[in-house]
């Protein structure tokens, strides 16, 4: 079992990360990835960029702990979590979560669990930049509700 956690300003390459998850891995039949991107429409106005900051040290620990929790609940041989910080323009990649498992159900659920927990617990803060203004993103209740399905 392996866990790879990375918080970085640099971009990442989904193809490369996918290859790393699959290489020398003959027992896993399922790979699920999630990629989050800076998208155009948020709360009405046109977002032109995001700015992300985090709590260095604590963030990595939290992501590691979320990945370990996922491995306790599902048979996930490999987990990769990459989260970018800094100034990210429209269309840029923000976050990557990739997991491998023997079974597709576990891979889907594990990846979704990690994203739901990351959204609720990982110490990142996001600011949206518009043409003439900027504002800090508010925590979304829908993200809190998303945790409901894992609490049983």
């Amino acid at each position: 079992m392996s866990i790879h956690i990375q918080v970085q300003t640099d971009d990442f390459n989904v193809g490369d990360e996918h290859n790393t998850l699959c290489s020398n891995n003959k027992s896993d039949g399922a790979v699920v990835t999630f990629t989050g991107l800076v998208r155009e429409f948020s709360s009405g106005d046109n977002v032109i960029a995001l700015e992300l900051e985090h709590y260095p040290g604590m963030t990595e620990q939290l992501l590691q702990s979320i990945a370990e929790q996922a491995q306790t609940r599902w048979q996930l041989a490999r987990i990769c979590i990459i989260h970018r910080v800094g100034y990210l323009a429209l269309g840029e990649q923000i976050v990557f979560v990739g997991v491998t498992s023997r079974h597709r159900q576990a891979a889907f659920e594990g990846a979704q669990f990690i994203m739901d927990y990351l959204k609720n617990h990982a110490t990142f803060w996001k600011k949206e930049h518009f043409k003439d203004s900027s504002n800090w993103v508010e925590f979304k209740q829908s993200d809190k509700q998303a945790l409901g399905k894992w609490e049983k």
């Binding site: 989260h83 110490t123 990142f124 803060w125």
Partner: protein, 99 residues
């Protein structure tokens, strides 16, 4: 020889000394402060420490008293009754919004 002067009474007591404070996100922007060393003379709960901060920086009050403000003591999410000692790292921040 100045050996004697190397023994700091604060070290001996260990309850007196500095707490490293960190602020993130919108809070950091509002306080116009990302980092601060706060001298304490005895262990304090997080809420007592907040009061101490407000007494030193009265204009921070509305932001530090926000109901949704979170605290992490030594990089672990903590409730307001947990005890802060000299040498600890204490961070305050709004709800997280990553991903």
């Amino acid at each position: 020889m100045v050996v004697g002067s190397a023994i700091n009474p604060n070290d001996v007591l260990s309850s007196t000394g500095k707490v490293e404070l960190l602020f993130f996100g919108q809070l950091k922007e509002r306080l116009k402060c990302s980092k601060l060393s706060l001298e304490i003379t005895q262990p304090l709960s997080i809420s007592e420490l907040k009061l101490k901060l407000v007494s030193q920086y009265p204009h921070w009050q509305p932001w530090l008293e926000e109901r949704e403000l979170l605290a992490a003591l030594n990089q672990t999410m903590s409730s307001s009754d947990e005890i802060v000692k000299a040498g600890d790292e204490l961070a305050f921040f709004p709800p997280v919004t990553g991903g």
